[in-house]
């Protein structure tokens, strides 16, 4: 007796897919293809004329030492932010997952900064560490530490990393906490009965079982540091001093919007898009193998 339901309508499934496909096309493929097309053009400063110049934008891009510098800045910035925000959030999440009386209050207090926009986060941190009006910059100065993120590139990088990590902690915390709560307690109890201490239980039971969450967060965080940190960098340093915090996405904005070089900016965003797609593909191909679902 055949019990499976068969829908004979051939058209209906495609019809149901159409709204989603239209949105994806209009808001993703269309702008992306425009960027690719723009990267082959040279436009005058007023956007009146444009001529097709083939790969010239890419040639001048890869001949520009400033572009390699921004790549290096991006690598340093993104690895610092991803590593710090993930590990700090995991530390807090494991503590909040314990049987504490006030755990609920702590969880709520940890989660709410997720509602702060990147640019606002940047302003808040600049407010604390601005060399002349920062509340926390004064104690640093008082300790004879020459703190000046407006002049010193390393200090500017530290400040931007701190703001970006701060912004991302609550998001990662939320997902790590959900991941921790889905780990069956019986497995941990079995480990404890076999004589494993808290640290050993964490590294041999909790951490491997948490790997799907960690993997998901790794992908999301890499995309976050590549694209969403733009607001933070723009608010805190504006890419300075001397380009010390100009990441690739900030350079796209600086060259295209401020510098008026739309073709070169489009070429940069195409390169950036390829890099992020490649990174995500690599993560799915190699890191996902180590994930235990």
């Amino acid at each position: 007796m055949e019990k499976s339901v068969v829908f004979n309508n051939k058209l209906l499934p495609y019809l149901l897919l159409v709204p989603q496909l239209i949105i994806t096309f209009v808001f993703f493929y269309w702008p992306a293809s425009q960027a690719v097309w723009q990267s082959f053009l040279r436009e005058d400063a007023f956007g009146l004329n444009s001529e097709f110049i083939g790969l010239e934008n890419y040639q001048s891009l890869f001949a520009d030492p400033g572009y390699y510098k921004s790549m290096l800045t991006t690598v340093i910035f993104s690895s610092l932010v991803a590593a710090l925000s993930l590990s700090i959030a995991l530390l807090f999440a494991t503590q909040a997952d314990k049987n504490l009386k006030a755990a609920g209050a702590y969880k709520t207090l940890m989660i709410w900064p997720y509602a702060v926009a990147p640019a606002v986060a940047g302003v808040l941190w600049l407010f604390m560490f601005h060399p002349s009006l920062g509340t926390l910059a004064r104690p640093l100065r008082w300790m004879n530490f020459d703190w000046n993120p407006l002049l010193n590139g390393d200090h500017a990088m530290i400040l931007v990393v701190m703001a970006a990590v701060w912004k991302q902690i609550s998001y990662n915390f939320l997902f790590f906490l959900a991941g921790l709560q889905s780990i069956p307690k019986s497995v941990l109890e079995a480990g404890a009965i076999d004589g494993a201490g808290p640290m050993r239980r964490f590294w041999t039971i909790t951490f491997p079982l948490l790997s799907p969450t960690t993997f998901f967060l790794l992908v999301v965080n890499v995309v976050y540091v590549f694209f969403d940190t733009f607001g933070i960098i723009d608010a805190v340093t504006g890419g300075g001093p001397a380009g010390a915090t100009t990441t690739m996405v900030y350079k796209v904005f600086a060259d295209g919007r401020l510098g008026g070089d739309l073709g070169g900016s489009a070429a940069q965003s195409v390169v950036l898009m390829v890099i992020v797609i490649a990174l995500t593909a690599i993560q799915f191909k190699y890191v996902e193998r180590k994930v235990q679902y």
Binding site: A102, M110, A121, L124, A192
Partner: protein, 68 residues
């Protein structure tokens, strides 16, 4: 959890309190700054406690007055 050691709870509370402090301090500071006048904030000697210009600042923010 399986075993219950008071020291573990104290460490957990300490770490969480530190975390909440880190997470909340920038926003707290912004709230405090919103209660002081511009000269106090720009002067770099802003107190950690609220000041007396709260209504004035928020009135200006809502009404979008240009003079400050």
């Amino acid at each position: 959890m399986v075993e219950h050691r008071p020291l573990n709870d104290i460490i957990a509370y300490a770490i969480l309190t530190l975390g909440v402090f880190i997470v909340a301090f920038p926003v707290y500071l912004a709230l405090i700054a919103s209660t002081h006048d511009a000269a106090t904030v720009v002067g770099g000697h802003m107190p950690i406690s609220p000041g007396g210009h709260t209504l004035e600042n928020y009135y200006r923010a809502v009404h979008g007055s240009q003079d400050s």
